[in-house]
């Protein structure tokens, strides 16, 4: 069976900002952002899992909004600012990542970059989300290992830490 050949056809120039730096590259405009990041740019912190927008492992920020990179085509990134997990904390650790570490909000870690991205987007929009809002914002991020207990504790502790600061 042939997959729809999204990656054939003429390449065009894509200009966008990636993790704070301007980038310009020649790609097929229908190529998925997930594959551009992982295969062309070697940014493998963004994970591949379902490729149909159901699991959130591939989550990145596009102009600050959480987006499934497996559903995003190159042309949709034109002129946009994209942040992947690699661009979150530079060489350090973001307080939200620190909360995941402290509470044990991960096991195999495969869902974690996407989860962290979604939490960052949530807390950026809303500094003190309710339980319903947390649940709503993260229900597109599947985790098979933790049962979400550690993730919920990490999000709550990140919220509490922010309030103290």
């Amino acid at each position: 069976m042939i997959e729809p050949s999204e990656n054939t056809g003429a390449k065009q120039t894509l200009q966008c900002t990636l993790n704070g730096s301007p980038v310009e590259m020649d790609v097929q405009l229908s190529k998925r952002l997930l594959h551009i990041l992982r295969d062309d740019l070697g940014l493998t912190g963004t994970k591949r899992s379902c490729e149909i927008g159901r699991c959130g492992a591939c989550m990145v920020l596009v102009d600050g909004k959480p987006v499934n990179s497996c559903l995003t085509m190159a042309y949709q990134c034109e002129g946009k600012s994209i942040t992947t997990i690699e661009g979150i904390s530079g060489d350090g650790i973001d307080p939200i990542q620190q909360a995941f570490l402290a509470e044990g909000g991960y096991q195999c870690g495969y869902c974690t970059p996407g989860m962290v991205i979604s939490v960052i987007a949530l807390l950026h929009e809303n500094a003190s989300p309710s339980e319903d809002e947390i649940s709503e914002a993260l229900s597109g991020n599947l985790c098979r290992c933790t049962g979400y207990g550690g993730i919920i504790r990490a999000v709550k502790s990140a919220i509490a830490t922010r309030k103290m600061e």
């Binding site: 069976m1 042939i2 997959e3 050949s5 990656n7 054939t8 992982r38 295969d39 070697g42 493998t44 912190g45 963004t46 994970k47 591949r48 899992s49 379902c50 490729e51 149909i52 159901r54 699991c55 492992a57 992947t84 997990i85 690699e86 979150i88 904390s89 650790i93 990542q97 995941f100 570490l101 402290a102 509470e103 044990g104 991960y106 096991q107 195999c108 870690g109 495969y110 869902c111 974690t112 970059p113 962290v116 339980e131 947390i134 709503e136 993260l138 229900s139 991020n141 599947l142 985790c143 098979r144 290992c145 933790t146 049962g147 979400y148 207990g149 550690g150 993730i151 919920i152 504790r153």
Partner: protein, 764 residues
């Protein structure tokens, strides 16, 4: 005391693999790539069952950028694999027996080209009617899927005389329990990188739960010595039993050796679903009778497991189910028979809980039904019938005795959650608000075996050495797939030896470096690491001290091992010799190794266990009688598994395991229709989300072991995934009076028009 971050104090630590995981810096094996690498793909069967008339690869081979198109002709060694029996073809020659069967494999410059090449391979099939039901597969005249027929394995157990047992019973419950084809749904699909090395060796970077087993299996397939293959197998993005058997490794290895180039394979989710293992669907019939005092007189069980086309560990899973339908209860008369049957459905195999999930769902269902029939409280009913200290194991075999059964059951009764059940009225008698939301509380009792059981090779061991750079290396042949094995080992090294975290390096998941520690399955790794360290601690300490004594020219008795190096034993425990200097000054390698066998019962019964973990689970659930949906609002788990080696890991295993059981009970089923998957991805295969996981959750570990117990911590990797489903079924019964005998629970069974609705409909 409840286990959490606060109650764990300083033992609740940041995992050593944590920073790389939360920052996305960790390179999983499916993240790896290499310049000049090719992309591998596998052509899977178009039919659940067919005879292959011919395979024509010429067009695919002619395509530019395609470097190999391989079929059964290109398998140099054994064209078969399987941990227990090598009956699964690497590349099918004459028959395909399920939709995941591999027929050809391709390496090309790009993934797109490899896909295109697959589409050019012409396989001429003679499609046959699939055998998609295990009972039909057992019927006379059913097509034989293998020369030996359709029975993979039969297992049973008998005690007393079952026919007599039911005579004079005051109550008898007969029920048939049906459990679903559950998918592991690890977030990282199968894949890896396969690299032919300049010296002629092959390096395989691909997840597995037992690197040395993969090496053995690949050596048979490739017809090359094991020493010429290196398996690097951690870190892993989840496994849960699903990556225990070979998956893409044979194809990557064949393609890399054939082309002489690195080859990457990374399954799409759909390929993972169609080819991968699932939990065995089982149909379990039970007939159980009690006397007027509520004592179990007779328990008659029949298990039919759909094992799919090939063996993997299907026989072992059935053995485990037979043991666990007996479980932690006493019976006068017992008769269990089970059969694991080949079909053209998907592959069934190893999965967290290993047949215990199905068995215990059925067994606990019987206990609740019998208690209700006899008018006895379900807690009291189990209390009357449960095993007593010093009772033998389920097969009447000797086991390592603990008071776990009693401890967890009593702890459950003391929990706030379970105590609330007194206030919830039985089956739909009390009014509730809103009237369509009904609440119930249920519980389940679990005794779960650890280790592979008697009669199955179950090696264990490890190695400690002082490396040339002064790091103490702990080497184990175990894998990290998220459970926190590295963190647990780190804590053990700190607590058992007094090392600082910087003093040592943990080496796992690389067959060139590690000893044979056996598989990372069956809740065995933590307990085997602990036992290995007990065996190695004194010899390794003495070896370090002896070398230090020589270098320092002081008697070893005055020295001690500690943070940073060898210290003065008394006084201020001054640092005398850093490990780095100790290593530099030692002419001989300081190393100790231990090899032993996972402790097994003194029995002849294949699969019988020596070590068991016990758990009691209570759950509060809400049923919405308009939608038929069930929501779990609170959970309590008492777990008796000996000392807690790593609090964060322990809690995570129970939370994560119970989340899998939640999905098993409520939403998860890989549906097949005539041997084809209908459920292909997470749009229709529904695992729990955060929104399903908001209720309360408490874990109380019971750490106490009997005086002189030599076995230490028991495993907790599986037990969390077992008890929740039957507890939910009972909570649903308590809420709405409907008995659940099939998972996942079908909401339409629980929908009840309310009076208000009925009236509204009538008035129209």
């Amino acid at each position: 005391m409840a286990l959490n971050r606060e109650t764990s104090g300083g033992r609740w630590r940041i995992r050593p693999d944590g920073p790389a995981k939360v920052t996305g810096a960790l390179t999983y094996l499916t993240d790896m790539s290499m310049s000049g690498m090719l992309h591998g793909r596998v052509l899977r069967s178009s039919h659940p069952y067919a005879r292959i008339k011919s395979i024509d690869t010429s067009e695919a081979e002619a395509l530019e950028g395609v470097h190999a198109v391989l079929t059964w002709r290109d398998v140099p060694g054994l064209n078969g694999y399987g941990i227990a029996v090598q009956d699964q073809p690497v590349l099918c020659r004459d028959y395909v027996r399920y939709v995941g069967d591999a027929v050809a494999t391709v390496a090309a410059d790009t993934p797109e080209l490899a896909d295109y090449a697959l589409s050019l391979i012409e396989v001429d099939y003679d499609a046959l009617a699939p055998v998609d039901d295990p009972e039909a597969a057992l019927a006379d005249g059913a097509p034989k899927l293998h020369p030996h027929g359709n029975v993979l394995h039969r297992a049973g157990y008998e005690r007393g005389n079952i026919a007599d047992g039911f005579e004079g019973c005051a109550h008898i419950v007969e029920e048939t329990y049906i459990t679903p084809r559950q998918m592991h749904a690890y977030m990282e699909t199968e894949g890896g990188l396969f690299v032919p090395e300049p010296d002629g060796r092959l390096t395989v970077y691909a997840p597995t739960q037992h690197g040395l087993m993969d090496r053995l299996q690949l050596s048979r397939i490739l017809d090359r010595p094991q020493a010429s293959i290196r398996i690097v197998s951690s870190p892993i993005g989840g496994s849960f039993g699903g990556k225990d058997e070979l998956n893409i490794q044979p194809y990557g290895a064949l393609l890399a050796l054939h082309t002489g180039r690195p080859v990457k394979i990374h399954n799409s989710r759909w390929e993972s679903v169609r080819a991968g293992l699932k939990r065995h669907p089982m149909k379990i019939r039970m007939k159980t009778g009690i006397d007027a005092d509520g004592r179990i007189m007779a328990h008659d069980v029949n298990i039919i497991a759909d094992t799919g086309p090939y063996a993997t560990l299907g026989a072992e899973v059935l053995n485990f189910a037979v043991e666990h339908v007996i479980g932690p209860y006493r019976y006068e008369h017992l008769y269990v028979s089970g059969v694991s049957v080949h079909t053209n459905n998907g592959m069934s195999g190893e999965f967290r809980g290993f047949g215990g999930n199905q068995a215990i769902f059925a067994l606990e269902g019987q206990m609740d039904r019998l208690a209700y029939k006899a008018g006895i409280d379900p807690w009291e009913f189990r209390q009357r019938n449960r095993r007593r200290a010093e009772d033998p194991g389920p097969f009447g075999h000797p086991i390592a005795q603990t008071n776990g059964a009693e401890q967890v059951w009593r702890t459950l009764a003391e929990s706030a959650l379970y105590a609330r059940r007194e206030r919830l009225a039985y089956a739909a008698s009390a009014p509730s608000s809103p009237p369509w939301i009904r609440k119930g509380i249920g519980a389940a009792f679990v005794m779960h075996g650890a280790g592979l059981g008697f009669g199955i090779p179950d090696p264990a061991g490890g190695r400690l050495r002082l490396a040339a750079d002064g790091k103490i290396e702990a080497l184990f042949g175990y894998e990290e797939f998220g459970q926190g094995l590295i963190a647990t080992l780190e804590l053990m090294l700190i607590e058992e030896f007094g090392f600082a975290p910087d003093d040592f390096r943990i080496v796992i998941g690389d067959t060139d470096r590690v000893p044979d520690s056996g598989s990372t399955t069956a809740s065995r790794a933590t307990s085997m690491m602990w036992q290995s360290l007990q065996r190695m601690r004194d010899p390794f300490r003495s070896a370090l001290l002896k070398a230090a004594a020589a270098q320092l020219d002081r008697p070893a008795e005055e020295l001690a091992i500690g943070e940073g190096g060898v210290r003065e034993k008394s006084g201020e425990k001054r640092l005398l010799l850093a490990y780095q200097n100790l290593a530099a000054g030692s002419s001989e390698e300081i190393a100790v190794e231990t090899n032993f066998i996972f402790p097994a019962s003194d029995t002849k019964r294949i699969g019988a266990h020596l070590l068991y973990t016990y758990a009691a689970v209570a759950v509060e659930a809400e049923v919405n009688t308009l939608t038929g949906r069930v929501r779990v609002t609170d959970q309590f788990h008492a777990v008796a598994a000996g000392p807690v080696m790593n609090p964060q890991g322990y809690l995570g295993q129970i939370e994560g395991g119970s989340s899998m059981a939640l999905g098993y009970a409520l939403t998860e089923e890989a549906i097949m229709d005539e041997g084809r998957y209908v459920t292909r991805n997470f749009d229709t295969y529904l695992i729990p989300t955060i929104a399903d996981s908001r209720g309360g959750f408490e874990v109380v570990p019971i750490e106490e072991l009997p005086e002189g117990d030599p076995h230490g911590p028991r495993g907790v990797g599986e037990i969390g995934s077992v008890g929740l489903a039957p507890a939910i079924a009972e909570a649903v019964f308590q809420a709405v009076g409907t008995r659940i005998s099939r998972l996942p629970i079908d909401p339409s069974e629980l929908q009840k028009p309310t009076d208000a609705l009925r009236k509204a409909v009538k008035d129209r």
